[in-house]
C-alpha cells in the first residue's frame, strides 16, 4: 500500500507540471486549451527521439519545451489573428499534432528510450558523488519524487516572479477583462499568444519528464485525456484548498497538491482487484464529477443546517 501511495505521489509531482500549465490557460487566461492533448506527446516524442539520436537528455528536454511552446503559439495565432474560437483553435492544433507526432516518431506508436535520460544521469550523479548517502542505490520513486518536487518548486517560483511583472500583470488583466485590458493599452492578442506558449511549454516539459521518469518511452496516444486529468487536478486542488482570496503562489501550490492527490487516488484504485487498467478513464470521470459536485453538497448541507436551527428557534 505504501509503495502504491509513494508511486502515486511521484507520478503526481511529474503530472503537476501539466496541471500548472492547464491552470495558466484555464484559470489565468480563461481559455480551455485543448492543444495540450497534442503537446503532451509532442514533448515526449521530441525528447525521446533526440535522446535516442545521442543528444544530451537535458538539452533534448529543453528543445522539447521550446517546440511545445511553438504549438501554443500556433493555437494562439489561429485564435487571435483568424478569430477562430479558442476551443476550436486548440482542437485544430491537437489533431494536426497527432500526425506530426507520428512523423517525429518515425511511424511508430511507441518508441522506447535507448540512451541516458535525465533520470539515469541524475541517478548516476547522485550515487557517484554521494555514495555514502545512497549506498544501496537510489529508488526510482524517490528520484522521480525529488526531481518532480524540485521542478515544481522552481516553476512556481519563476511563474510567481513573472506574474508580478508588467507583462505578467498584462496577461492576468487580459484573462480577467479583455475590454479593460485593451482600454489600458495592453495588446491582448500578444498576451494570449504568450500565455498559450508558456502553458504549452510546461505541458511539453511534463510529457518529456513522464516519458523519461515513468514510461521509459514515448507513446503516440499518451496525450489522450490529458485535458481532463489537468482539469481534474486543478479542480481537486481548488475544491480542497481554496476557500477564499489566496495569493497566486498558494493557488499554484494547491493545484500541485491536487495533481498529487488525483494520481494517488488513481494508483490506489488500480490496486483494487476487480478494476482493470482500462477502467482508468471511467475512474477519472467519476473523480472529476465528485470534485465538481462537492461545492453543491457543501451548500446543501449548510442550507439543511440553517433550516434545522431555524425550526428549533421557532
Amino acid at each position: 500500500m505504501l509503495t502504491t501511495i509513494l508511486s502515486g505521489v511521484a507520478q503526481g509531482l511529474l503530472w503537476a507540471i501539466l496541471t500548472v500549465g492547464v491552470y495558466l490557460t484555464f484559470r489565468v487566461l480563461d481559455i480551455a486549451d485543448l492543444t495540450i492533448e497534442g503537446t503532451f506527446p509532442l514533448g515526449a516524442a521530441v525528447s525521446v527521439m533526440l535522446i535516442n539520436s545521442g543528444m544530451n537528455p537535458f538539452l533534448a528536454t529543453t528543445i522539447a519545451v521550446l517546440i511545445g511552446m511553438c504549438a501554443g503559439v500556433f493555437t494562439g495565432f489561429l485564435h487571435t489573428v483568424f478569430k477562430i474560437p479558442a476551443i476550436l483553435s486548440g482542437i485544430l492544433t491537437m489533431i494536426a499534432l497527432y500526425s506530426v507526432n507520428i512523423r517525429i516518431m518515425q511511424d511508430k506508436g511507441t518508441v522506447s528510450i535507448s540512451g541516458s535520460t535525465v533520470k539515469s544521469m541524475l541517478s548516476d550523479f547522485l550515487t557517484g558523488n554521494f555514495s555514502k548517502l545512497f549506498e544501496n542505490g537510489i529508488k526510482s520513486n524517490t528520484l522521480s519524487m525529488g526531481t518532480g518536487l524540485l521542478t515544481c518548486v522552481l516553476i512556481v517560483s519563476l511563474l510567481y516572479l513573472f506574474f508580478g511583472t508588467e507583462i505578467g500583470g498584462a496577461i492576468r488583466a487580459t484573462g480577467s477583462n479583455k475590454n479593460m485590458a485593451r482600454a489600458m493599452g495592453i495588446n491582448t492578442n500578444a498576451m494570449i499568444v504568450l500565455g498559450l506558449a508558456l502553458s504549452n511549454g510546461l505541458i511539453a516539459l511534463s510529457g518529456s519528464m513522464i516519458a523519461q521518469f515513468d514510461y521509459g518511452s514515448a507513446l503516440v496516444n499518451m496525450g489522450q485525456g490529458t485535458i481532463v486529468i489537468g482539469l481534474a487536478s486543478v479542480i481537486i486542488g481548488e475544491v480542497i484548498f481554496i476557500h477564499k482570496d489566496h495569493s497566486f503562489a498558494y493557488k499554484m501550490g494547491a493545484v500541485i497538491v491536487g495533481a498529487v492527490i488525483y494520481r494517488t487516488i488513481i494508483a490506489c484504485a488500480l490496486k483494487i482487484d476487480w478494476l482493470k487498467a482500462t477502467d482508468l478513464k471511467l475512474i477519472t470521470a467519476v473523480i472529476v464529477a465528485i470534485a465538481l459536485a462537492l461545492p453543491v453538497f457543501k451548500e446543501k448541507a449548510a442550507a439543511m443546517k440553517r433550516k434545522r436551527s431555524n425550526r428549533e428557534v421557532a
Binding site: F162, G164, T165, E166, I167, G168, G169, A170, R172, A173, G175, S176, N177, N179, M180, A181, R182, A183, M184, G185, I186, N187, T188, D245
Partner: protein
C-alpha cells in the same frame, strides 16, 4: 486638439438592416474643451465615441488627434492617448485583480510593457492619495479585489484609471447611466472635478439634458448620425431643458425620443 473631418459609418451596408450611423460628421474639439453630447435613441453618439476610440472602424473621413492621424490606429494603440469610461461599470476594471493592481495597469497605460515589476512600492503613495480624493474609503482597501466593489465604486475607480496618466482625450460614454441617482451625481461631480483640475479635453455622452447643460463648456446635439446643434460659452449657459427640446424639434422635425431622457 481633436479634428474630425467628414466622418462616415454605415452598418450592414447593402442589406435590409443597413443603418447610416454617422453621416458626414465634422467636429473640431479644442484643447481643454469639455463637450457634452446629447441626442435621441440611435443618433450615433456612442458610435461616434467608439469610432474615436477605435472600436468601430471608419468608412471614410479622418480623425486627427494632436498631430497624429489616428483613423487607422488600432484601439490598443489609441489607448495610449485616450482615456475611456464605459457605460457598464463591469467593463472598465479587472474584477479578479486588486485595486492597486488595476491602478498599476492604468499607471502604465502610456508605456510599453516590460519585465520590470508590475507595481513599485513608491507608486502606492500616489494610489492612496488619488483614491482618498474619492472619499469612498478605498484608500484602505488597496488589496481588495475590484470585483467586490459596488457598481458606483467600480465606476469611480475606472474614472481614476482613465485619468491617472493624463490622456490627450477623455471619452465618457453615458458613464453614470447604470448607477442609482445619488451615486450617479457623485460620480458626475467627481468627473467634473478631475476634468477641471487637469483641464482634460473631454467628450461626454449623456442622456440627462440637465446634466448636459450644467456640465462642460460646449454642448452638441446629434440626430440620425448628424450634429444638428453645437453651442458653447455664454449661449450654452443660458440654455434650459425646454429650450433644448424646442430647438431639437425645430432642427430635426421630429420629437425627441430617448427612453431614458424622458425619465430624468
Amino acid at each position: 486638439m481633436l479634428k474630425i473631418t467628414s466622418l462616415n459609418k454605415t452598418f450592414n451596408p447593402g442589406t435590409v438592416n443597413e443603418k447610416r450611423a454617422i453621416c458626414d460628421v465634422s467636429l473640431t474639439v479644442n484643447d481643454g474643451d469639455f463637450i457634452t453630447i446629447i441626442g435621441s435613441n440611435g443618433a450615433g453618439k456612442s458610435t461616434l465615441l467608439n469610432m474615436i476610440a477605435g472600436n468601430v472602424s471608419t468608412d471614410s473621413g479622418h480623425i486627427v488627434l494632436g498631430d497624429k492621424d489616428i483613423t487607422y490606429f488600432s484601439d490598443v494603440k489609441r489607448a495610449k492617448f485616450i482615456g475611456r469610461v464605459f457605460q457598464d461599470p463591469m467593463m472598465g476594471t479587472a474584477p479578479d485583480m486588486w485595486i492597486e493592481e488595476n491602478l498599476a495597469l492604468a499607471f502604465r497605460r502610456t508605456k510599453s510593457h516590460t519585465l520590470k515589476w508590475g507595481i513599485k512600492a513608491s507608486e502606492r503613495e500616489l494610489y492612496i492619495k488619488t483614491l482618498a480624493q474619492l472619499g469612498l474609503g478605498l484608500e484602505d482597501r488597496l488589496r481588495s479585489k475590484v470585483g467586490l466593489l459596488s457598481g458606483g465604486q467600480r465606476q469611480a475607480v475606472t474614472l481614476l484609471m482613465a485619468t491617472l496618466q493624463k490622456p490627450e482625450l477623455l471619452l465618457l460614454d453615458e458613464h453614470t447611466a447604470a448607477l442609482d441617482p445619488k451615486t450617479a451625481s457623485t460620480v458626475l461631480e467627481l468627473s467634473d472635478k478631475i476634468i477641471r483640475e487637469h483641464s482634460l479635453t473631454t467628450l461626454m455622452v449623456t442622456h440627462n439634458m440637465q446634466n448636459a447643460i450644467d456640465y462642460g463648456n460646449r454642448l452638441i446635439m446629434m440626430h440620425e448620425g448628424r450634429i444638428i446643434l453645437d453651442v458653447a460659452g455664454e449661449k450654452k449657459k443660458a440654455l434650459t431643458v425646454e429650450a433644448l427640446l424646442k430647438q431639437f424639434e425645430a432642427l430635426s422635425g421630429a420629437e425627441f425620443s430617448n427612453d431614458r431622457a424622458l425619465l430624468s
